[in-house]
């Protein structure tokens, strides 16, 4: 990516986004504006994909509610996202979990991955390196 583009994007990146991977269950707090009122709505589900880089990165969250599968794709750095909370980590072997769409019930479960906070922090440092490097370009 062109270094000037990275610089311009850096000013708009959100440093408070936690590190998460496909398979993790996240709770996304979405800001919703209704008329002149604003409220925050939570959307919880499994991250089935992350794509893009820098300011253009998006992630897709899948949840099954009332038996109907539902997917929402969010812009990672969107100002409409108030907060992201990682609820659960899972063991997965691929980056895109589209196969979950064809599974339901017990088969659609992912095996939980229990990790210590230290290990998680180390993973986040590696996984978020590109992002933190870009934020450092701000100025």
């Amino acid at each position: 990516m062109n270094p000037i583009i990275l610089e311009v994007e850096a000013a708009h990146l959100k440093a408070d986004r936690p590190y998460f991977r496909p398979g993790d269950t996240v709770r996304v707090s979405v800001r919703i504006v209704e008329g002149d009122k604003e409220r925050v709505q939570d959307y919880e589900g499994i991250v089935i994909a992350r794509r893009g880089s820098g300011l253009r990165e998006t992630f897709t969250v899948r949840r099954v509610s009332f038996g109907v599968g539902m997917e929402r794709t969010f812009q990672l750095h969107s100002p409409r996202i108030d907060a992201i909370k990682v609820v659960r980590h899972a063991k997965v072997r691929r980056a895109k979990l589209y196969y979950l769409r064809n599974l339901s019930g017990r088969k659609a479960r992912l095996v939980e991955r229990r990790v210590s906070t230290d290990k998680l922090a180390a993973e986040a440092a590696v996984g978020n390196k590109a992002l933190t490097d870009q934020i450092a370009k701000k100025g």
């Binding site: 610089e7 311009v8 504006v33 300011l55 750095h77 969107s78």
Partner: protein, 202 residues
């Protein structure tokens, strides 16, 4: 290209254009040339890469040799001085501009790509898949009319993208950030002028 968020949180697709500094290297005047214009340069290059003519030309205005030289015919020509530098400041946020560039070259392209013609049926023995269609009449007019869509060289042409909105200007980095895409490949050279249509309306 990249994207930015507006105050509502919606995405705006944007293109960054490095615009300036553009030194004024020469002036055309009615007395000497018969018309009014300014010659501006962009993309300074090192002295060692410039030939004697380029060095001499640049030296007259005190600027460094440049890679791109363009003449702009404008009424403001008389108010500009040789040696002066034009920056992003002449444009403001929200302004409508035209961006002129050279489109990406696509080489020898078929009618499908060059003129957007539709394919024929794939099956039922049609045997007519990617052909350019009828060339026209027979003994009358006994020729193919000019402009008949056919295969040939496509792209690498001067394209003017009109009515492009400036989202933001960045004086420190000499950047103009415009909404949407502009003609040409990444790193290509473009000319930005005040939007002709928008100016005519105002």
């Amino acid at each position: 290209m990249t994207q930015l968020f507006d105050e509502k949180g919606a995405i705006i697709p944007v293109t960054l254009i490095q615009a300036g500094p553009c030194p004024v290297l020469q002036k055309r005047t009615v007395e000497t040339d018969g018309y009014e214009a300014v010659q501006i340069g962009f993309d300074a290059k090192p002295e060692r890469n410039a030939n004697k003519a380029e060095k001499g030309h640049a030296a007259k205005s005190g600027a460094a040799p440049v890679r791109i030289l363009r003449e702009m015919r404008t009424e403001e020509a008389s108010s500009l001085e040789v040696g002066q530098s034009i920056s992003v400041e002449i444009f403001e946020e929200g302004e409508i501009v035209d961006v002129i560039g050279t489109s990406k070259g696509r080489g020898n392209a078929s009618v499908r790509k060059r003129h957007g013609s539709k394919p024929g049926p794939k099956t039922h023995g049609s045997m007519y898949h990617n052909r350019p269609g009828s060339m026209g009449g027979s003994s009358e007019p006994a020729r193919t009319f000019p402009g008949k869509p056919s295969a040939g060289h496509y792209g690498d042409a001067r394209i003017t993208a009109k009515n492009i909105k400036i989202v933001k200007t960045d004086l420190a980095r000499n950047l103009i950030i415009v909404r949407g895409s502009i003609p040409g490949a990444n790193g290509g050279y473009v000319i930005i002028r005040k939007g002709k249509k928008a100016t005519a309306k105002a």
